[in-house]
């Protein structure tokens, strides 16, 4: 019987800062979880911790989602296990920061493979495994960077732009099938010591645009449940994103370029 079967929330990039916050938030809502990320041992610790705290079932499987073969095997395993899902959080994403010309081709390809290709493939696959008895929710983690062309983060920002457009389109397209699609566009979030350092290095702007991950995760889930298309945490960030559509892209790119150069100058001596 389909209706008596458990149904899970699939969270990718689950052991990262925002991923852990999503996992904790979903577990607190009493949802059973299926987590994935690179490290099996980190997934195991998180699974144990969350199931103790919230009495939910937490399954997991490690996978390098940027590797197409591994990804396919992972997705097939979900099907073979006979799992069904009512929520998908496409949170896995990465960036290798720094000038384009200094990145290796492999690094650049990895950003596209994970942020773009994996999200598309997983979304397609998991739709087939949806719990028919419930509304299906998809939450895609884009970024405030999705609103601007961003020098020094060119590939990353473009991939986040892709996710934003992809979400907005699916949001309309799938509405009739009882599926909601929400794009989350956060600014930098202080989710681990490394990020906290870099936010502090960005000075005032870094600090005021940063929002607590626990809050962002909770609100993002609220917005997804409400069927909203986009969620931008923080008023100032909302303003900045609107600015993105008013200011011509070329001007925005030039401004951001200048800001990044100043920031990296400020960072270098202390590093």
């Amino acid at each position: 019987m389909l209706s008596s079967m458990r149904s899970f929330v699939l969270i990718t990039g689950a052991t990262g800062g925002l991923g852990k916050a999503f996992a904790a938030e979903c577990a607190a809502r009493g949802w059973d979880l299926f987590l994935t990320d690179l490290s099996e041992s980190r997934l195991a610790l998180l699974a144990v911790g969350l199931s103790r705290l919230h009495n939910v079932e937490v399954k997991y499987r490690a996978c390098n989602l940027a590797d197409p073969a591994a990804r396919e095997e992972f997705l097939k395993s979900l099907e073979t296990a006979g799992l069904q899902f009512h929520f998908l959080i496409n949170n896995a994403g990465l960036d290798f920061e720094g000038p384009f010309a200094e990145r290796t081709p492999e690094e650049l390809a990895t950003v596209v493979r994970l942020n773009v290709e994996a999200t598309v493939a997983i979304t397609r696959w998991v739709l087939r495994l949806r719990d028919q008895a419930r509304t299906f929710r998809i939450l895609n983690v884009s970024s405030l960077a999705g609103f601007y062309p961003m020098p020094v983060k060119a590939v990353y920002a473009a991939s986040k732009r892709f996710l934003l457009q992809f979400s907005l389109a699916l949001h309309c397209e799938l509405r009739g099938d009882d599926i909601t699609v929400t794009a989350l566009c956060p600014a930098g979030m202080p989710s681990n010591p490394g990020v906290i350092r870099s936010i502090n290095a960005q000075g005032f702007m870094g600090r005021v645009t940063a929002k607590n991950v626990g809050f962002v995760a909770a609100k993002a889930i609220d917005r997804a449940l409400a069927g909203r298309a986009v969620y931008i945490p923080g008023l100032l960030n909302l303003f900045l994103s609107r600015l993105g559509s008013l200011v011509p892209s070329s001007v925005a790119a030039a401004l951001i370029n200048r800001r990044w150069r100043e920031t990296s100058k400020r960072c270098t001596p202390s590093n």
């Binding site: 800062g17 607190a28 610790l45 911790g49 202080p190 989710s191 936010i199 502090n200």
Partner: protein, 302 residues
């Protein structure tokens, strides 16, 4: 109850306290109050094991103590106490170390490591950072070291709490403060948990127990605690506020007093400040809250 930890040989030292041959573990011993307490105890002849999260700071602290006090018996162990796995590994390492030295006997555990975080940060176990480091780690470490503490003639478990524990309650609906995270509220709760834990520990041990737990209120102390995991405002505020605090050496005195005084004036008192018992908050003495926190902590560290 007689509070004389003098099963082993006594010798007089400069402060007139009898401590030689005793063993102590102190967490958060790479800076602030913990470092000051460790130095003092080492000077009194304790065999001390300091715990820190950064290998480099541990090595530096160990080296500086050895050069200041060539006769000191000190070792540092590295453990990030936000990780339960590392707390367990730490307890195992302490057991191994002491097993070869004195048959695995521990007289004093000082749960002093503490952290402040402006941000909601999740540990590898999925718990909020301040709750994990400030409360769950002391809970777990104490329980893991119980077999060693039980071997001492009279053992003490001292946890560095704070005046922040007043005027607050446990946020049972969301102990991790996941939703409305507030740095100060989460910190206050974790320090309240220290007193609840201490009182409940003593209740569970029962009268006549040879292990006794104490919570210490160090007062306002001039350390870097408020600058490490914080952002602009909290960081700036603490930089100004800490100037009014006492030196860590002075704050450490209460820990030393509890660790070394054979006949405490009030051995039953749970909460101590300036080497004297002080009344903790009413909430911290509630048995239902103590039991509930204990059961939750057991579940979260099982």
């Amino acid at each position: 109850m007689e509070h004389v930890g003098a099963r082993r040989e006594k010798t007089e030292n400069t402060t007139g306290k009898n401590t030689t041959g005793k063993t102590a573990v102190i967490t958060g011993a790479t800076s602030g109050i913990g470092l000051a307490a460790l130095k003092e105890l080492a000077g009194l002849g304790f065999r001390v094991i300091g715990v820190g999260r950064a290998a480099k700071r541990c090595a530096e602290a160990e080296a500086s103590i050895r050069s200041e006090m060539p006769g000191a018996r000190v070792d540092y162990l590295v453990a990030d106490l936000s990780s339960q796995r590392q707390v367990r590994d730490l307890a195992a390492a302490i057991s191994r170390l002491l097993e070869t030295e004195n048959g695995g006997c521990l007289d004093l555990l000082v749960n002093n490591a503490g952290t402040v975080s402006s941000w909601y940060v999740t540990t590898e176990d999925g718990y909020e950072m301040q709750f994990a480091v400030n409360h769950l780690a002391p809970f777990l470490l104490t329980r893991e070291l119980l077999p060693l503490l039980n071997k001492a003639g009279f053992a003490r478990v001292i946890t560095t709490s704070s005046g922040s524990h007043y005027n607050t309650r446990m946020n049972w609906r969301d102990v991790m403060y996941r939703r409305g995270y507030n740095c100060l509220l989460a910190y206050k709760q974790s320090k309240l948990a220290n007193v609840l834990f201490t009182s409940e520990f003593n209740r569970r041990q029962g009268p006549g127990s040879r292990i006794r737990a104490y919570a210490v209120d160090p007062g306002l102390v001039n350390t870097g605690i408020g600058e490490k995991g914080t952002n602009g405002f909290v960081c700036w505020f603490w930089r100004i506020r800490r100037q009014r605090g006492v030196a860590p050496e002075i704050a450490a005195r209460t820990i030393i007093h509890l660790a070394t005084t054979p006949g405490l004036e009030d051995p039953e008192a749970v909460y101590w400040k300036d080497c004297r018992p002080k009344r903790p908050s009413g909430y911290s003495q509630r048995e239902d809250a103590g039991r509930r926190l204990w059961e939750l902590s057991e579940r979260l560290t099982s």
